[in-house]
Symmetry: C2
Subunit: 327 residues, 2 copies
């Protein structure tokens, strides 16, 4: 029985400390040989004789687990759990941990960067300039905008704080978690979802992908937004319906969108042909410091597990509940 | 004698108020018929029988003024005066006014947006994604960076305040104006120019174009910067030597640059072929609110001049002194 399969990519790329930790602990490990996000079948074929996965966002399904009789632990490098069938893991006695705090600062800053590009058409001008075209685009300033943040968890809250610090005109917030509303350190006015779509010049999504949020933003929500408004998704692909977003961008109702995440990654779809759609490659957590912290935390958790030591960031019951409610 | 030639482009495009003001005051005006920045010869040919120019950044030289015997006033839409031969204007008794405060908020925000794009390779990923390529770029976060701001005037100061609010790791500042150093509301450590180039992960330029700042940033300064550092210019073309910047980007010493301004505009030069170079089309002041404010202020000043009323933002003697010292 081999110990650890590292499926996430990259891993130990900028800072070798995660690899050093595994070696210092005497843990045998194998790296994802394809060097990219694995598909379900590829993972199922590879996973056979490992005890622990240090996992990215590849699908860790019932089918995958059924091919891994010795699998005892999944250590997710990141916060999202939509890729892991938590209930199947529980039935099989597989422990799941994650790194919920580490990615937040990097994702929040990428979100702010994407917003500025949209506000000032930086991405459009850059492409035009590299083609030798000179067009001066009118932009908008953060102080005259209403920005709506859907989801005020670790990342959404940081986005709101950055925007408040930059002097954003008005901030709207929505979160289904009623505890968030009691957090006095979250700037913004609490509104219902509908009011957020209707009122915001920019809508930014910071909710997890669950059965409840899948396809949460469809044509109806996009058309409810103001003419010329913009939308940002650095959360998970599938929360916005990609096909309907493409239609709404093409017909000009929205002036721009920025997506870092996609239903299928690597992405290659029709949004690539829409210039007003700013696209990045799931780089939210990809700052050197945050990525390293995620990798180290997930690796240390795997080492603790193999050593029989207490774990520090097991996935809490509420996350299992969310998946159970989605059945 | 016709009254007003509006050379700046766009003008009255988003908000027609500047045009309405001219009409309400009964001032006859002619708009730039080419719809783009004029070259010296084009302007010289057009300027013949006007009393007032509402001017963009086109060259208003001795030669141009010699062709405009009736010219009595230049009302600049913007802050930069490098395009106006102030000493020639003075000799001919031509009054020059400008709008120094209006563009600052928009330029500062564009600068922040360009910095975020550089920090996270947003512009590079966007181009790759639109070509169907998926590459995840490592980025850096503002809290771990040292950012150097050259020039702490109206715009540089705002950039520094935004960066401080976003939690920038360390801020370095340089300004030749010793009064700036006494301004306690400017965040950052005052350093000499050399120390700023050597110490910063991002250098941002916010100085006017003068004889002293022309070619201020050459190969020597660029190579003095850290390996992998980045540079932003939203001030004026010509402050960075474009050819030497292209060389330094190509050989990989700098990881990126963002330019909104160029020696010759519209720009079409070798930087267009360098993917790590983020290019925008002199859009610094092009937010709807700031652009409108600039146009209104410059128009009101022209109307006041024609009515014989006191002016509110004549170019101060210090600006004439700067050009005199550059002779």
């Amino acid at each position: 029985m081999r110990k650890v399969l590292v499926t996430t990519v990259p891993f130990g790329d900028r800072v070798s400390l995660p690899l050093d930790l595994l070696e210092a602990a005497g843990v045998e490990y194998v790296m994802n040989p394809l060097g990219r996000k694995l598909k379900e079948d590829e993972l199922a074929e590879m996973v056979g004789d490992f005890e622990v996965l240090i996992a990215g966002t590849e699908p860790i399904t019932e089918k995958v687990m059924s091919r891994a009789p010795g699998l005892r632990m999944i250590s997710r490098v990141g916060i999202g759990l939509d890729s892991v069938d938590l209930l199947a893991a529980k039935r099989r006695g597989i422990t799941v941990s994650y790194t919920p705090d580490a990615p937040a600062p990097a994702v929040a800053e990428l979100t702010i960067g994407l917003m500025f590009s949209l506000m000032r058409s930086i991405h459009v001008a850059n492409v035009e300039m590299h083609m030798g075209e000179w067009r001066r685009h009118f932009g908008r300033r953060v102080s005259e905008l209403t920005i709506g943040v859907m989801g005020a968890g670790r990342i959404g809250k940081r986005v709101l704080c950055h925007l408040a610090a930059l002097g954003a005109g008005r901030l709207l917030v929505n979160d289904t978690n009623s505890e968030c509303r009691l957090d006095r350190t979250i700037p913004g006015e609490w509104v219902e979802k509908d009011a957020l779509y209707r009122g915001a010049d920019i809508v930014s999504l910071h909710v997890p992908l669950t059965a409840q949020t899948k396809n949460m933003v469809r044509r109806e929500q996009l058309l409810a937004m103001k003419h010329g408004a913009m939308i940002v998704n650095t959360a998970r692909g599938g929360i916005i319906n990609e096909r309907e977003l493409a239609d709404v961008l093409r017909n000009g109702h929205l002036s721009g969108a920025a997506l870092d995440v996609f239903c299928e990654e690597p992405y290659s779809g029709e949004l690539s042909s829409i210039q007003s759609c700013l696209l990045t490659s799931h780089m939210g957590s990809m700052s050197a410091d945050c990525r390293t912290r995620m990798e180290i935390e997930a690796t240390e958790e795997a080492i603790r597990f193999l050593a029989g030591a207490p774990l520090r960031s097991m996935v809490p019951p509420a996350e299992y509940q969310v998946q159970w409610e989605g059945l």
